[in-house]
Subunit: 348 residues, 2 copies
DNA sequence: AGCAGACGTGGAAACGTTTACAAGGCCTCG
DNA sequence: CGAGGCCTTGTAAACGTTTCCACGTCTGCT
């Protein structure tokens, strides 16, 4: 088998024109006899239609692109898995692009003009006006996972991570915590800002339970560790000012990775989790389930966001005229060991 | 901007033929004047060459495919990142396929005949003769990450995970452990078998330090937990036959995920890690670094394997005639807390 | 029996590129 | 001064498909 068979070969072997062969193979109008002969000819030759030629002619590649800032983050992996499993059903292939910074993302959006994909799902960490502009100008449908300015006219799936922070805080209050701090990610990111607002919004109803907030340099374990150290040092970890009335006894982290960092810092400072310090994370990654002590975490539905984004994209591909849709995936709290009440029963 | 500009538009605007336009843009023979005019025309029109048309004509898509059994596993994510960063340099795009089972993989290999990719990197969990057959028959170069039968004539990058197990065992012996068990993954997988051999190979030099081995149902935390429970229950965890001379005091896991499962099982059984039980994992994922206690793990160079595989693929694409190469990435031990000697100094 | 319509078929164009080939112009060298 | 060669250019074919259009044939209805 030196050369791949083309539809011309099939047609010749079946004794019909290429047009008929194409129709027969694609289920268009063709007599039963023709279909039969073309089918067997194709079978004999092991004919497989060329994706490139077909793409050129039909104007659709059957390829989609998924672009995220950091594919190393388990959240995005989960999204990707979800997207993958949705889009493969109608036969799309999935391309992955990890975009380091905002400029990369713009370049990527521009590169869509090469026509290698029929659409894109984009989950940017930093949303700028310029980015929105480019998304709108993209030659193929783009759905964005993340929070966009109102009325951008872009298909979007987002979560209410501000409310997610609120849920986490409420849970801590309900389980008897007295002073709650916040370890956020970088404030120049969209999720970072949203979560900051979420934390600040709890200030009024918390009163003096509302503790300090600190922004880590990154959404990573290491950054969380560093941030937590300053937080704990400044605000009454044992060995500091002592566990007085103003000592932190709970921390909300904007991210599971940050939360793990917080737990490390606590451990190194001799602060016990959950007895001395409750920790709650966000994203509800597998890490949260697996860590010891297991981490209470606010799920932002990463898998579902992926699924919904994929569905949105497919819907738009099917009907380019449909109105831009925004889907909101609600946050949900998953309680685990890291927030077990200090004097409560031992519920695993 | 309703319609994307084609090279015909550019040629017309520049007042030259499409052939000249193409040559000018691609740096083939063309006068300075022509190049200048074509360049500006292209610039004015925002011309971007169509990837599909180019692919059809040139016979190369500039796309590569990366296929793994379970993209949920952090090891593969790391590989993917490495592959991505290598192949984007010469301008390749990367497609991801998560193949559930062996049949999926075969289908995927077959689908390469559609011509949507110039090559593939494949990391299968189960290598069968049929798979090797299909890899050989693939219409584009395929590089396999994993252990293939000798003389398959396929570009391969592998690691010596049997030796990796040996290294882990030696480390446990050196740090004073008396009886070492093994929690493996499924034995019908290629890494599972290799690691089993690795463990068995230590039997002679260990004597009665060589403990029992058990195979988990899967390379996951949950499976590791289940497997470890039977192992610990059967072989002298506290509460069982008591920590007699035959009690396990160390476990090698074939995987970081399994190792985490083991640590959970130990925790639930009241066995302390590392004091009562040393645990060492494999793959040296971020999980190992981040877990508490941090997990000693044998790195199998997942990132490097990805890099090398990508390089191998690029080399083959550049020279299809070159001889099939096998690259071996050596395992390396990363010592952390989970194997700290019981009576040793407290070295963090 | 005649005609409209349906249906199957083949030829050819088209998708947007690259490239083989031939031809023209100019320069250089004999 | 003429021939050969190089450089540039344009025409046209090609990559492998799908699809428009026109043409025939057959069916069924009046």
């Amino acid at each position: 088998m030196k050369q791949r068979a083309t539809i011309t070969d099939v047609a010749r072997r079946a004794g019909v024109s290429v047009a008929s062969a194409s129709r027969a193979l694609n289920g268009l109008s063709a007599s039963a006899a023709t279909v039969e002969r073309v089918r067997t000819a194709a079978g004999d030759l092991g004919y497989i239609p060329d994706a490139t030629a077909r793409a050129l002619k039909m104007g659709r590649t059957l390829q989609l692109s998924f672009a995220v800032d950091d594919i190393g983050n388990p959240v995005y992996v989960e999204m990707m898995k979800a997207v993958q499993s949705v889009v493969t059903v109608p036969g799309y292939r999935l391309m992955i692009s990890s975009t380091g910074d905002a400029d990369d993302t713009i370049d990527l959006l521009r590169s869509l003009s090469k026509g290698y994909a029929d659409g894109m799902i984009l989950s940017p960490l930093r949303v700028t006006d310029r980015l929105v502009e480019e998304v709108r100008a993209a030659p193929v449908p783009v759905v964005v996972i993340g929070r966009l300015p109102e009325g951008s006219g872009v298909d979007t799936v987002m979560t209410d991570s501000a409310r997610g922070v609120g849920i986490a805080v409420d849970h801590l209050v309900e389980t008897g915590r007295r002073r709650i701090g916040f370890v956020n990610g970088p404030l120049d990111t969209t999720p970072g800002r949203a979560r900051q607002h979420g934390f600040e919004a709890t200030a009024e109803r918390l009163g003096d339970r509302h503790g300090p907030a600190v922004a880590a340099a990154d959404f990573t374990v290491a950054a969380g560790y560093d941030a937590a150290r300053t937080l704990l040092a400044g605000h009454g970890a044992p060995g500091g000012t002592g566990p007085g009335p103003h000592a932190l006894d709970a921390v909300v982290a904007a991210n599971d990775l940050l939360a793990i960092g917080v737990m490390h810092a606590a451990h190194d400072a001799g602060v016990r989790v959950p007895d001395d310090l409750a920790v709650v994370g966000m994203d509800d990654t597998e890490l949260a389930r697996v860590f010891q002590p297991s981490l209470t975490s606010v799920s932002l539905g990463s898998g579902e966001r992926g699924t919904r984004a994929a569905e949105l994209l497919l819907a738009r591909l099917a009907d380019p005229q449909r109105e831009a849709t925004t889907v909101v995936v609600p946050p949900a709290l998953h309680v685990r060991h890291s927030t077990r009440p200090p004097h409560g029963r031992d519920t695993p």
